[in-house]
């Protein structure tokens, strides 16, 4: 065996704390090591060239690079080794930067540890064997989870590229949060006017299949070949017949909370969220329907001209196959009522959330755009906006900035003046104004100057009712004095959280997520729309709070990534998977029991003799079976038991 060891200075990142030269020198004393050198920047072209040269000159059959984390450059060096004419899997990396030079300061200590890490890597290298990846057919259909603006944008881009797209939306209509907005900042153009045409495009696009009122139950398989169980929830209305005429909604005698209008006014037990819904189909909220709760009524059934109502309808699960998955599950508004008791916990009628205010402003909302006090219906003379409710607030476990509140508050302040007259007193309590987008700062300035909205820097400590007013007690940190305002209406800029069930979905997709339930991107800088699970991509607020332009941009970026992926007819699978040494298999089938992916199967090796066999394309290389196999006859390529034990032994040798 002929191993080459390359120790990287990484400028001073490593060399400042680790004596890379001595490490390289000592490496020549290791068994099978026939070449060792230190290199300034191994990942740079000159460094890679040196590796290729050494492979050539010294006829290396294993390469060890001691540098940064394999998560950073393993792929880079695999490619380099490959170009050097060596099988890319005959390469091993020692992480002497993240795991050594960056966390230690004492040079002798760090050097000694680096030396151990190099020895361990060499020990593992001895156990490496050439591997060849395998090619699998790619399914070119794409699943988009979530029918908000992100999902819609991604779907349309993908569909236009000729890919078949399925949008799964858990509500009865696509549109998401954007459909609930009145206007958009900073242009004050009508949100619905720009969104609904795109919604219609989705409905009409030959390559797009909109599955509304559905949920993703189970995801199995792997990039290029996902199998997804989609559960169609029971709408109790046969959507193949329903024409969305809304007669049933008018006639329905039972009231039910209206989630689309954020609970401002009740809707009916059978409902269609809003006039431009896509698909425009009715659904029954059974827990509020008289037939289901009291066993009488069936009015909708009687009045339905298409006789679409079907009380017997059961939910059903359909299985679909996809090559890639785009997650666009969007956001949820922070439930301020549960946390901000000083703001009345929602008991004060005239204190509402920003999104409720959007519905109040909206011409297609429950009040036809008439801004008024919910307590008495009068138009407000004084309106107070409070920012960062559920954002930048550790006390409620929301340290992050929701990034859109500053702007939508400014927009709503402006619209208030517009709806209620310029003489309306409008105050905004803020901590900082974050107006980083194109034209945003200018917009805020206009709101302050042209529209005379009064910005008060400070937090509101208390809201309470007094003589039919909502008393707003806060502190103006610029004037350094207590302020108290008697408001008619208070609007809270409630923050953004990940959609309900985001964590559960993440687990189904086995992608990672942060403590707040936002999905984790592959790399914050370099892989912003990918996840660590190949074939699963992100779009919109499910990754982090963003405004519409950012969301749309990310959706298109994701679409292009997916298009890039599915441009291949075949995909290379990782060869670092489990393989059964059938000679030693005792046919106990424990591997089949424990495999999360169903990769091992019973194979008849000769008549009547069954042995375990791992299906290469299904195996994801986790190695659970390897640890379970009592005879250790399953080996995980690249992580063989011998390799692990040798590393341990080497580390302890010194």
């Amino acid at each position: 065996m002929r191993i080459g060891v390359f120790v990287c200075h990484c400028g001073t990142n490593i060399a400042a704390t680790v004596d890379v030269v001595s490490v390289a020198k000592r490496a020549l004393g290791l068994k099978d090591v026939v070449h060792a050198e230190d290199i300034m920047y191994t990942c740079a072209e000159p460094g890679q060239a040196a590796i290729r040269k050494a492979i050539e000159d010294k006829k290396l059959d294993r390469v060890v690079v001691a540098a940064c984390s394999p998560h950073m450059h393993e792929m880079t060096f695999r490619r380099c080794v490959d170009n050097g004419g060596l099988n890319p899997y005959l390469f091993e990396m020692a992480n002497i930067r993240e795991h050594c030079s960056w966390i230690h300061t004492d040079i002798p200590v760090a050097t000694e540890k680096a030396w151990d890490l190099v020895k361990m890597a060499v020990a593992k290298a001895r156990r490496l064997e050439p591997l060849w990846s395998n090619e699998v057919e790619v399914n070119k259909d794409v699943l988009v989870i979530g029918g908000g603006v992100a999902g819609i944008q991604a779907a349309l881009d993908l569909a236009d590229a000729g890919l078949k797209v399925t949008i799964v939306e858990r509500e009865t209509t696509i549109g998401g949060v954007m459909a609930k907005l009145d206007k958009t900042f900073p242009t004050i153009d009508c949100s619905a006017c720009i969104l609904t045409p795109r919604m219609v495009d989705c409905a009409q696009h030959e390559n797009i299949d909109v599955m509304a009122y559905c949920e993703v139950d189970r995801v199995s398989g792997y990039v290029g070949n996902f199998t997804v169980d989609v559960r169609k929830k029971a709408a109790m209305v046969d959507w193949t017949k329903c024409v969305g005429c809304e007669i049933c909604v008018q006639k329905c005698p039972a009231k039910a909370p209206d989630t689309f209008n954020v609970g401002l006014e009740p809707t009916k037990a059978i409902y269609i969220p809003f006039p431009q819904a896509v698909p425009k189909r009715a659904a029954i909220q059974v827990e509020h329907c008289r037939w289901f709760t009291q066993g009488k009524c069936r009015v909708c059934e009687k009045v339905c001209p298409a006789d679409a109502v079907d009380y017997e309808q059961k939910e059903e699960t359909v299985q679909k196959r996809f090559g890639a998955i785009v997650v666009a599950t969007g956001l949820e508004v922070f439930p301020w009522e549960e946390y901000y008791h000083e703001y009345g916990s929602g008991k004060i009628k005239d204190v509402i959330s920003g999104l409720q205010y959007e519905r109040m402003l909206s011409a297609s909302g429950p009040y036809g755009g008439h801004v008024h006090r919910l307590s008495n219906g009068e138009g407000p003379k004084t309106v107070v906006f409070i920012q960062c409710v559920g954002s930048r607030d550790d006390s409620v476990g929301r340290p992050y900035c929701s990034s859109v509140c500053c702007m939508y508050t400014a927009k709503q302040a402006l619209l208030t003046k517009d709806h209620c007259g310029m003489d309306t007193e409008v105050y905004v309590f803020y901590i900082d104004i974050r107006a980083t987008g194109k034209g945003y700062e200018e917009f805020v300035k206009r709101v302050q100057t042209e529209f005379g909205v009064k910005y008060v820097r400070g937090r509101v400590s208390k809201l309470y009712e007094e003589e039919g007013k909502v008393m707003v007690r806060g502190f103006d940190t610029l004037l350094g004095e207590q302020v108290e305002i008697a408001a008619d209406l208070v609007v809270l800029a409630s923050g953004i959280m990940a959609a309900n069930g985001a964590k559960e979905l993440a687990q189904k997709l086995s992608v990672s997520y942060d403590e707040f339930g936002f999905f984790k991107e592959g790399h914050p800088k370099l892989r912003p729309v990918e996840t660590n699970t190949a074939g699963v991509f992100l779009a919109g607020a499910c990754q982090a709070p963003k405004d519409i332009p950012a969301t749309v941009a990310q959706a298109s970026a994701t679409a292009s990534k997916v298009i890039g992926l599915l441009a291949n007819d075949k995909l290379k699978t990782s060869p670092m998977i489990a393989i059964v040494g059938q000679k030693d298999c005792v046919s106990c089938w424990k591997c089949i029991d424990v495999c999360p992916f169903g990769a091992p199967e019973r194979q008849e090796v000769r008549p009547g003799e069954l042995k375990s066999h791992v299906i290469e394309t299904v195996c994801q290389g986790c190695g659970v079976c390897v640890a379970t196999c009592p005879v250790n006859c399953i080996s995980l390529k690249g992580f063989s038991t011998d390799a692990v034990l040798d590393q341990i032994e080497e580390a302890l040798l010194s």
Binding site: V20, V21, K25, L28, H35, A36, I39, M40, P46, A50
Partner: protein, 395 residues
């Protein structure tokens, strides 16, 4: 030479005397288990229990011994790198120009064999060594094992006559005897008040310089002789050796092997407690540049014993391993060394987890009766089942 006499109370003193020049190994009881152990003053030698669990072979033929240490030295790089960090983007190239290192191997042979005296073993145990001598090089010396022979050379065997052989003893059946001399350097025989001592070899002689050793009286000598006769008559002769090789050969395919091996669990107990079994295995262990070569006991019930690299194992079936053990002791080995590989101590019977009885096996397979093969188990070696009454538990 003259028979000597050692009074019982002088035994510790005698061992102490011997221990001055050599390590003394003797059967010693700890936690109710009698095993051969290094003796030290104050430790009681256990001679009432006839046989220690294991034969003393482990003190000459170690169960596990490292006999070679080796190390690889990689040639140092011919050039020492300059301060590479200053060499700019190209890096130091510390060793690119250095000659390709090559390995040199250093080897260190280990073989310590210090003088030891094994006291209190039985003639059958001693005979076991003689049979191992054949294999390890005494015999014709066509293969000479330095490890074994060095220790054997340095070892003196002071055997004790079996006063009271057990029902599982069958030394006489294979040409041995409770007072056998084969392999014995000096023989102790328990008589009233002490032991008579006879040295058969110079080695034995050498241990008898102990001052308290007196010449045995005729009475004592006579008593000893009587003890030996008595003991010998006590040993059963459960099978005959006559034609046993031919019969084993003839019965090679016998169905009876299948019947007899049924309760065998293919462990190695019988071979590891046996004073004769000598099979071993060799292994290397290497970590980085330092390695060692060791050998350990192996046995014919170990699947790897015959497994081939391909994975094919000619003795995959349990019965074939079982058959091999007995065939080897009474057929293959005799063919080669013209002696048996068994000294009749019966340890394999007593310690077998399922009490497989070598005597029963030889009765069946060693006799021509079963050439036909279809022997039934009932016929052999099973004590008659008790009457209902005797089975008290159940009445």
């Amino acid at each position: 030479m003259a028979i000597k006499y050692l009074s019982g109370d002088q035994l510790p003193a005698f061992l102490g005397y011997v221990a001055e020049k050599a390590r003394v190994v003797a059967p010693i009881k700890s936690d109710g288990v009698v095993q051969f152990q290094p003796w030290a003053p104050g430790k009681d030698v256990e001679l009432d229990v006839l046989l220690a669990k294991q034969s003393p072979k482990a003190f000459v033929f170690l169960q596990s011994e490292t006999y070679l240490k080796f190390g690889y030295r990689m040639e140092e790089p011919s050039e020492v790198t300059g301060d590479a960090a200053t060499d700019g983007a190209e890096g130091g190239n510390a060793a690119t120009e250095a000659a390709i290192p090559h390995e040199t191997v250093e080897v260190e042979a280990l073989n310590e064999a210090s003088a030891q005296v094994i006291f209190g073993l039985r003639p059958c145990d001693a005979r076991g060594f003689v049979q191992m001598d054949n294999v390890f090089g005494g015999y014709g010396g066509f293969y000479f094992d330095p490890l074994y022979n060095a220790r054997r050379e340095a070892t003196t065997l002071l055997a004790v006559t079996c006063r009271d052989p057990r029902s599982t003893c069958f030394c006489t059946a294979i040409g041995g005897c409770p007072a056998g001399r084969e392999g014995v350097d000096a023989l102790f025989t328990q008589v009233v008040g002490g032991y008579t001592v006879e040295a058969f070899t110079d080695k034995g002689e050498a241990t008898l310089g102990f001052s308290a050793l007196a010449d045995a009286s005729d009475a004592q000598a006579g008593e000893a002789a009587e003890v030996k006769v008595q003991a010998t008559t006590k040993v059963d002769v459960p099978f005959t050796l006559e034609g046993i090789r031919d019969n084993l050969r003839a019965n090679f395919e016998g169905q009876a092997w299948h019947d007899l091996h049924m309760r065998c669990i293919s462990c190695g107990t019988c071979t590891y407690v046996c004073p004769n079994c000598y099979c071993f295995n060799v292994g290397d262990e290497l970590v980085e540049c330092a390695g060692e070569r060791y050998r350990t006991w192996d046995n014919c019930f170990n699947p790897l014993y015959t497994e081939e690299t391909s994975g094919h194992n000619p003795r995959e079936a349990k019965f074939s391993r079982f058959r091999n053990r007995f065939s080897h002791k009474f057929w293959y080995y005799p063919d080669k060394y013209d002696s048996l590989l068994c000294s009749g101590c019966g340890r394999c019977i007593v310690h077998c987890p399922t009490r497989i009885d070598i005597r029963e096996v030889l009765r069946v397979m060693g006799s021509p009766a079963t050439v036909a093969g279809g022997s039934s188990l009932a016929a052999h070696g099973t004590a008659p089942a008790p009457s209902q009454a005797a089975d008290g538990e159940e009445t």
